[in-house]
């Protein structure tokens, strides 16, 4: 991990050449959720290929652009398309953008993803606020000699997701008549979807939804002392005893359909948090 610091500085330097705001939040948009960037008043944008040390986004429906601008009145830096372990990348490479967001000044990470719902109280199209996670990827982005400039060797994980922001999101959902749950996200490496036996197992160990991302980014955000809020869009229900074959086109359609609701929640949480922060200062 000792080479990360310089990589972060180099990526920042490039972004700083065309954008000089301090972002309040970094936003990562998951599968099918890219359209949220149309709500951003874009001040600068970069293809991932332009930014030193950024990976290529190869996954379906992940564009591969870093957008800097204003969401509402709040400066943000957003990833349209993310990197996944199943693309063959190492977790410390995948999470470099989070460290760049932090280095640009972001104190909040907002992550979103498309996931499979295992809690039978959920329905496809619902949104779940991530309350906690289980890392079942068999890897960790913090492995290597720790760079104390970036964070502690043994980060605490007792509360990786900010409970105040979860509360904000749920209250916004109630007033906007959006179905929102909270629950536990389990991350697996993928890329195949889970077997019925795996869904049963994941449910039994306490997970409500399953996906192939988010946890590495959140671990790095916690390591970087950022606050985090996570939105999972349940794109299909994975009930082992009534399992339908997954249809990627359908999953993306459900995600696209949920995107306006996600935008309402995410921008609402962002606005409240920015306001609270301004009052504190």
């Amino acid at each position: 991990m000792l080479d990360l610091y310089d990589k972060i500085q180099e990526a920042c330097a490039l972004i700083r050449k065309s954008w000089d705001h301090t972002p309040h939040a970094g936003i990562i948009l998951g599968t099918g959720l890219g359209p949220l960037v149309s709500k951003i008043d874009v001040q600068a944008e970069f293809d991932y290929a332009q930014i030193p040390h950024f990976l290529r986004s190869t996954a379906t429906s992940h564009r591969g652009r870093l957008i800097c601008g204003l969401l509402g009145q709040v400066p943000v830096v957003a990833m349209e398309g993310r990197f996944h372990m199943y693309e063959g990348y190492r977790l410390d490479q995948i999470t470099l953008p989070v460290r760049v967001m932090k280095a640009l000044g972001a104190e909040l990470l907002m992550v979103s993803n498309a996931c499979g719902g295992m809690n039978p109280n959920f329905q496809a199209g619902d949104i779940m606020l991530i309350e906690d996670h289980i890392n079942l990827m068999g890897a960790n982005p913090l492995i290597g000699i720790n760079d104390d400039r970036l964070g502690p060797r043994f980060p605490d994980m007792s509360q990786p997701y900010d409970p105040v922001l979860i509360k904000d999101a749920l209250s916004i959902a109630r007033s906007a008549d959006i179905v929102a749950h909270q629950g536990v996200f389990v991350a697996v490496s993928g890329p195949n979807l889970e077997t019925r036996a795996e869904y049963r197992f994941l449910r039994q160990i306490g997970a409500d939804v399953v996906g192939m991302s988010t946890v590495p980014e959140v671990i790095v955000a916690v390591h970087s002392q950022m606050r985090t809020v996570g939105f999972s869009v349940i794109t299909d229900m994975c009930l082992p005893d009534a399992l339908e074959a997954a249809d990627v086109a359908k999953i993306i359609a459900v995600a696209n359909d949920a995107e306006p609701r996600l935008t309402t929640l995410l921008s609402g949480v962002l606005e409240r948090d920015a306001k609270r922060n301004a009052q504190r200062r």
Partner: protein
């Protein structure tokens, strides 16, 4: 020393057995390792044996987080920094200093590894195990492992010492046998005897003599380095784990593959209550470890004196 160092070491143990037949009870059920397929000892083993020809350790000890002070109790110590031993990696975490200590514990010759190389530091499994493999190849009859762990079961309290009698490998990696001829499927790959039941009983008896109970625990090893989330604690509990940590499992497996019985002790540094989010600080872990030291150190010393001391054979 020739490349037959391991065979020689095994030989020496056998010789001692013949000379002191009553000792046989202490090492009676080493798993069968066929000498004709014994692996080549690593370079570090030969390096140490060439420099300390008269030294024949009977116990190997691995000291975990905050338990490093046991090394201070070693008499006539020879301390060798990991960086001075060919092929040894060097640990880089607070609380771990990284040296091999050869000497006497209660009159028994011991080889002590002070400082572990953890997988979260980025070592490969093979690199991280090299110091232990060296100690195992010095011809020890018992391996004593210690670690600090997080408590999952509410039966335990912070600062308690427990004995590991089983484990769950959650490292997503497995230890390849150092034995080139052991292509799994053999008796060496059976994990049910990893933690030695007879040594466990002896340890419990010894703990009782010292005035404390030594409960058994199933240890789950994760990669780390972050501490567990509450959801992960709940998940591991449902899987049957009592305690969770970031070491020990590969070491136990390696010892088993080389046919050496293992006693593994864990200091439960913080019992997690997943329903009340409480932050874990590395400094707290070190503090709980030092509290438990007052039990674990006498326990290990007494095991050495009871079963291995050359001056005391009343066991």
């Amino acid at each position: 020393m020739s490349s037959n160092a391991t065979q020689n070491a095994t030989h020496n143990a056998a010789e001692r057995l013949e000379r002191h037949p009553r000792e046989s009870s202490t090492i009676s059920h080493r798993l069968p390792v066929r000498p004709d397929i014994a692996p080549e000892p690593c370079a570090a083993t030969q390096w140490i044996q060439n420099r300390h020809r008269s030294f024949r350790p009977r116990i190997g000890i691995v000291l975990g987080s905050g338990l490093g002070d046991l090394a201070e109790a070693i008499e006539q110590p020879t301390k060798i920094a990991y960086r001075d031993i060919p092929g040894f990696p060097e640990p880089k975490v607070a609380g771990h200093s990284g040296q091999l200590v050869l000497g006497l514990l209660e009159g028994a010759q011991v080889a002590v590894l002070q400082g572990r190389c953890h997988l979260y530091e980025g070592w490969s499994l093979e690199e991280s195990l090299r110091p232990l493999r060296t100690v195992l190849e010095l011809g020890i009859e018992l391996l004593i492992l210690s670690n600090a762990s997080g408590g999952i079961t509410p039966r335990f309290h912070s600062g308690q010492v427990v004995a590991i009698d089983s484990h769950i490998n959650w490292l997503f990696q497995s230890t390849k046998s150092p034995n080139p001829h052991d292509s799994s499927g053999s008796i060496l790959m059976r994990h049910d005897r990893t933690y030695d039941a007879r040594w466990l009983a002896k340890a419990q008896e010894t703990a009782e003599e010292l005035g404390f109970a030594l409960p058994c625990a199933t240890y789950l090893a994760t990669l780390g380095p972050n501490y567990e989330t509450r959801a992960e604690y709940r998940a591991f509990g449902r899987l049957g784990a009592d305690i969770v940590g970031m070491s020990t499992v590969p070491e136990s497996i390696l010892a088993m593959q080389l046919g050496i019985p293992v006693l593994a002790f864990s200091v439960v540094t913080n019992v997690a209550n997943p329903d009340i989010p409480t932050a874990t600080e590395h400094n707290d872990v070190l503090a709980w470890s030092s509290m438990a030291r007052s039990r674990l150190e006498p326990l290990v010393s007494k095991i050495a004196s009871k079963y291995f001391s050359t001056t005391n054979r009343n066991h």
